[in-house]
Subunit: 403 residues, 2 copies
Amino acid sequence: MEPTPPTSPVASELHAASAPGAAIFGRSRALRPTGKVLPEHARTHNRALVLQTLYTAGAQSRADVARGTGLTRVTISDLVGDLIAEGLVIELGQREDARPGKPATLIDIDREAFHIIGVDLSEHEVFRGAVVGLDGQIIGRDEVARDGATAEAAELLVEQLVERLLARTTTPVLGIGIGSPGVVDEHGVVRSAPNLGWSDVALQDRIGARFALPVHVANDANVAVLAEHGSSHHDDLLLVKVGHGVGAGLIIGGRPAVGGGFAAGEIGHVVVGTDGGPRCACGKDGCLEAWLAVPRLTAQLAELDGAGRTAASARDDILREAGRRLGIVLAPVVGALNLSEVVLSGPTQLLDGPLHEATVDTLRTRTMAEFNRDLRLRMTEHGQDIVLRGAAVMVLSGQLGVS
Amino acid sequence: MEPTPPTSPVASELHAASAPGAAIFGRSRALRPTGKVLPEHARTHNRALVLQTLYTAGAQSRADVARGTGLTRVTISDLVGDLIAEGLVIELGQREDARPGKPATLIDIDREAFHIIGVDLSEHEVFRGAVVGLDGQIIGRDEVARDGATAEAAELLVEQLVERLLARTTTPVLGIGIGSPGVVDEHGVVRSAPNLGWSDVALQDRIGARFALPVHVANDANVAVLAEHGSSHHDDLLLVKVGHGVGAGLIIGGRPAVGGGFAAGEIGHVVVGTDGGPRCACGKDGCLEAWLAVPRLTAQLAELDGAGRTAASARDDILREAGRRLGIVLAPVVGALNLSEVVLSGPTQLLDGPLHEATVDTLRTRTMAEFNRDLRLRMTEHGQDIVLRGAAVMVLSGQLGVS
DNA sequence: GTTTGTTCGTAAGGTTTACTAACAAACGTG
DNA sequence: CACGTTTGTTAGTAAACCTTACGAACAAAC
């Protein structure tokens, strides 16, 4: 019954008195900034709806779009007129196939009209970037070696990389998307990225001011899950990104989860199981990262090699145990959120095999089959480019409302 | 690399081919039913915004509401005119305090104009219900003994309880909110509630047809977290409801999480730890419910008493271990979602004490302090009425857009 | 070849919504 | 008492989407 000391990161407020006179529901809560809705906002929404329809279903007639959206042909013609004037949509000529009635004029998003810059800062040795098309196709790549650069030097490298990528674009640029390690807030400020020596770095503002383009910045795993959501039909999914560290990105009910402190997905330092485990850099024993991070796994496998040609099963045992640990951490999350899809991203030779199998097995034995029958666990199909493509999705979503 | 058998609840789709010709992002996904936005929808939104403002901040002038919402005085007058005509808002006369300018006419939601019926089906022996005011105050209670009724008999009991509650109302009824155990879908169909012998019971339609009133049905824990969200200023919170079983409700980014299969929050049968545990009714060993459910805890404590007057520390040990197990399951969820608040609901004499302390301790030692510094773990302040009040919030939110 | 029915895209006119501008009423202040 | 301030309403305007109507262009049936 004693309150825990206030120094504790998890403090109890059991006995905190509520404000006197406050209503039972809601009155004490800060006013929600839901915001008014003006006619022009409705227009913006419907405009995005047209783009989304074209983006998702491809070239079609105005009448098709009208049927798809529920708006009238008249309104669609009006909206499409705007979009054509802006260069976002083009007419493709008449439909070929033979059917009764006036032949339709096909329209589509001009998928060659804009380029997007995607940047991935999540790798340890190199900053990678790409020029990405509206469809997600990678048009050109570039990268800069990091050479241990931190703080201002690292920021300069990002600028340099973006500049080189912009030089390669041949059409107007829709925006710049950046996936950064660490905790990133809603304004694209990197609150904390220890690896890069960043703390409260206003990357979005800086890059935006430098290149006069829309910029979106988010955590690398949160960016990666956007790429996965784009190519999945699930609206509740989790992506686990295994690299130098272990992080996750979540989509819940079709929307990215950010978390109260912008640290959603930070599962690398959650302790796994009740039987200890390897000592982690953070000081605790048995963190997920201590079991699963790539350096840890490769080191363990290298030890095996050093001890002579052991049976392949020893290698498999190591990977299987890592997979089991991942499953143990994921089980409560899968259960609590009733996820329908979990995706793994990272080195295929490590993740795709015994590790993956063990995770599947562990999830199966530790969750309720009845509720999670539809759950799928799979490797990403985006490979190494997942953050680059996710960054493009982020820009697409932010600038056009398409996602 | 072998795909797991299709009978497995967690199946691998590692090698599933994507549809040929599908675009890299999105094209393969089903068209999102985002929906068009018409001017009247904007109107509805702004109307709800006015109600929300009044509900949250209390009586004020039209001009105050205009400043609070960002809409103009003219628009607010128009909207308020509608609301007064509908009987939702009333004029309270002129403001008393002395200041320059024309004296303001105070308006407020007519908090006595409507009653809400709240029903809680989560208890084992009894169905409880209440007439609830718009502010959440409980105006009258009623209950029916369940006597083990299941299937149709249980449905009839619900109808009977609602009928008796309606007879007690003295004003028009805004709607009926029901918190049911089991899995409930978006249309208020109880997909599965083993305790009540329900399977695909269209409770919302049935009660709605019987009483010709708006009805909202959801899972009991998901309903309970609405009550908690109403009196909290956190937009990422989890409520753990400990009773005959163990369930949870989540609010993520201010919205309730429902899950792909409508089973979000079902954490009772997630296995805890890596050291076995008590056999659970579901067949697995060491489910959270096997550690934490009230029958299990009381049985363990009763065994103690039977063995003679043991030290109080033995009782504390049992509760502490249960709390530790809860912390172990919650740690990955708290980490993944970066929750800012976790609330416990259930018997105070069991939860509020060593159990609570142990959960706090365990969460502290198993998550990253840096990310979860602001996390609070506390008992609910709604006590036994949490589902009844949550049901009222659900109706308020569904019918008026107020939450 | 003609008629019929269908489909597409556009034009005209009406309704809803929220805005700006302007004003009367009612108050405190100097 | 003149003046500035605040409130709430009236009048007119702009934006957005709707319904209705129509010409153009086609397939199918006669």
